[in-house]
Amino acid sequence: MIEKAFQGSKGYWTWIACLLAVIAIGGMFYVQQWNYGLGITGMSRDVSWGLYISQFTFLVGVAAGGLMLVLPYYLHNYKEFGRITILGEFMAIAAVVMCLMFIIADLGQPMRALNVLLHPTPQSMLFWDMVVLNGYLALNLICGWAILHSEYKGVKYSNWVKPFIYLSIPWAISIHTVTAFLYAGLPGRDYWLTAILAPRFLASAFAAGPALLLIIALIIERNTLFRVGQVAKDKLVTIISYAAIINFFFLACEFFSAYYSQYPSKMYTKDYLFFGLEKDGSIFNNLVPYMQASVVIGLIGIAMIFYARSKKSDLLLGISCGLIFLSLWIDKGLGMVLGGFVPNPMGQVTQYYPTIPELGITAAVWATGFLILTILYKVAISVKLEKEL
Amino acid sequence: MYGSGRIIPALIIFVGLMTFPIWYNAGKAQQPPVLVLPTEHTECVRDAQYMRESHMVLLHEWRDDILRKSGPRSGVTASGMQYQRSLQQGCMSCHYDKKNFCDQCHDYTAVVPDCWACHLEPTKEAI
């Protein structure tokens, strides 16, 4: 089956070459980081997690988002998703691999990473995150590959796959819940210390994951004979828009409880992220334009996605999904983690700016994810087209 | 076999390259290192055989016992010799010639311990 990935058009190989180039450049930056230490990044004593962990958090959501395609098909027997379910599973594989790479990139002593297994610590949420992420990767590899392979052979998948499919559904919820628990259980970090964090994570995940998938599916439609199908698209629009609306509702709830209660430590980070935080006569607002844009872009995206559906316009659909994805990426892939450190528990403000090597490594991990995604999708689409045509 | 004209020579070259260190060194007996032992003492905390094989196990036991359980920082051998349960202050106080003791064996066995990233080697003055 894998041989399908080695037969492609010129455009396919150009795309692969571009991704490999980005990975190579990032690899060189990682060598620098390896030799110099994490001090090469913009992280500091006060903002001790940066772009790596925020991308990790966001991508856990993208991985969990695949659930929105798997669940209707396998649990509710929603046949229209039959053609794209595999795309959801493969996207989860690429996203989880990216997550693991970001974690490794962020470790001060990556060679000791297996200490987590050597000295298992059930009280630590990071231990559980390691368990659920690796488990989810395995589940999706098993399900995705087994199902596609049976399709390749023209038979129905074997019964032994079924328990894994059903297990992968609650497991998807667990990966993002545990990731939220990394943050939501820390006293003194008031922005994160909210019971609604896991639900918020899930809502944004169920919008961002399918949105990214739909964009990619539309690109595939333009370049191949593969078709998602109008009914499936409409259903995806419903899922994405509802999840995005719930995400913004949760955000509004956070704002209410902070600003109506006037509880100072609940307001600081929101001030810093959305309006600018005043401290000792200076205003700290380096993330404000992004966070405000995130809200505006997200709301425009939601309005537009309904319009796109009524007009049956794939272009508008793609753009609105892009807007929603971008909005959620800013909210979670930027503000969520970085904002939680500002102000620090002593009330001091340190602003964080990523460095060039840090951005290079981040880009390389994303490129690796897209490389895996491209290869897996190439195989999946080739198999599907071979059977259908 | 299809393409056997290329595959078989390629395989031979591959196997040859992979086993290069074996046949390059064949017949040349490597001399085990001769360690410089401390002259002040004749006895270590455990017998030489144990120390040769398991000194890292011992160091890890000391570390975990002292750090986590506030265990004793010194010990006594069967013959009554007092010693510090510490790499930097125990072992190295006798085996201060790191180059001719630790490094000799570690080089020979191609082991690269990272003890010295944190722990301080005895300085020239100490020797």
Binding site: G39, R45, S48, P187, G188, N344, G347 | R73
Partner: protein
């Protein structure tokens, strides 16, 4: 059978997982044990047995001797081979001073006594009785010892920095670069190596350990010894009514840093 809140939560968690024992947890709530235990815990340690080492810092004494804090920090950082990078981004601190309003976050209290504003207050790891950093660590590289000290094993730390996010006192520092290295002028980050103590390696977290090694030798922590002449710091077993810290805590009004977080700090301040 007595249960405090943590035990109750553990029980409830197990019950939820098992999905059978919910009635037990519910009965425990009905009897009001969880609530009563929580209130009772507002003291020092849930079990007032065994050793719990702690410290009292008299900040007025540091006001009287403006140089004392600097001397304490210097001796601490010197004997523990703490590097100096000369910038706040890479900074490593075991013992340091911060402004009063940062150490005791004031939020809305803007009418505090003038002399307290900006006053440098000595601060360090609080060796909490209920430490969030120990809970967070995924490898048990940081742990709570029987004597109350929150210890660290630098050999095991993977550098994930979860503990730094978890610590509400900013007591943990990460080795962003090689502490044994040199700056661009060829000056070592560790000015003067203390041969009796190890240094650390790049990529691990470190912090104050209440001078565990000196304690094992029967000495006081270095900072306490330095401040002994000024009677500015006290150290001892909080659970021993005859210890010096217990005496000071009985006689003076003291506060803790952010007690509302439930970390039960072992460092107390006389204001």
């Amino acid at each position: 059978m007595k249960k405090d809140r943590r035990d109750f939560l553990k029980l409830a968690g197990c019950a939820a997982v098992a999905g059978v024992g919910s009635s037990t947890a519910f009965h425990s709530l009905l009897r009001g044990e969880a609530e009563a235990a929580g209130l009772r815990r507002a003291g020092t340690k849930k079990e007032k047995t065994g050793v719990r080492l702690g410290m009292v810092i008299d900040i007025q004494k540091f006001l009287d001797d403006q140089d004392l804090a600097r001397r304490c920090i210097r001796v601490c950082h010197q004997i523990h081979n703490v590097p100096e990078f000369g910038n706040p981004k890479d900074e490593i601190k075991w013992l340091w001073t911060d402004r009063f309003e940062h150490v005791f976050v004031k939020d809305t209290h803007y009418r505090q006594a003038q002399h307290l504003q900006g006053m440098p207050v000595l601060t360090l790891c609080n060796h909490c009785d209920n430490p969030p950093c120990v809970r967070a660590c995924p490898t048990k590289a940081t742990f709570k010892k029987a004597d109350g000290i929150v210890g660290m094993d630098y050999h095991r730390c993977i550098g994930c920095r979860f503990c730094m996010a978890a610590c509400p006192y900013g007591a943990r520092s990460f080795n962003w670069r090689d502490p044994r290295g040199m700056d661009e002028h060829g000056r070592s980050f560790i000015r003067e190596l203390n041969p009796d103590y190890p240094a650390r390696t790049m990529g691990v977290v470190e912090k104050c350990n209440f001078c565990s090694k000196r304690l094992a030798q029967g000495k006081l922590p270095a900072c306490v010894e330095e401040a002994a002449g000024a009677e500015a710091m006290f150290f001892g077993d909080l659970n021993d009514p005859n210890s010096e810290v217990s005496r000071v805590l009985r006689e003076k009004f003291t506060i803790q840093r952010r007690p509302s977080l439930g970390t039960y700090p072992s460092v107390f301040y006389i204001i």
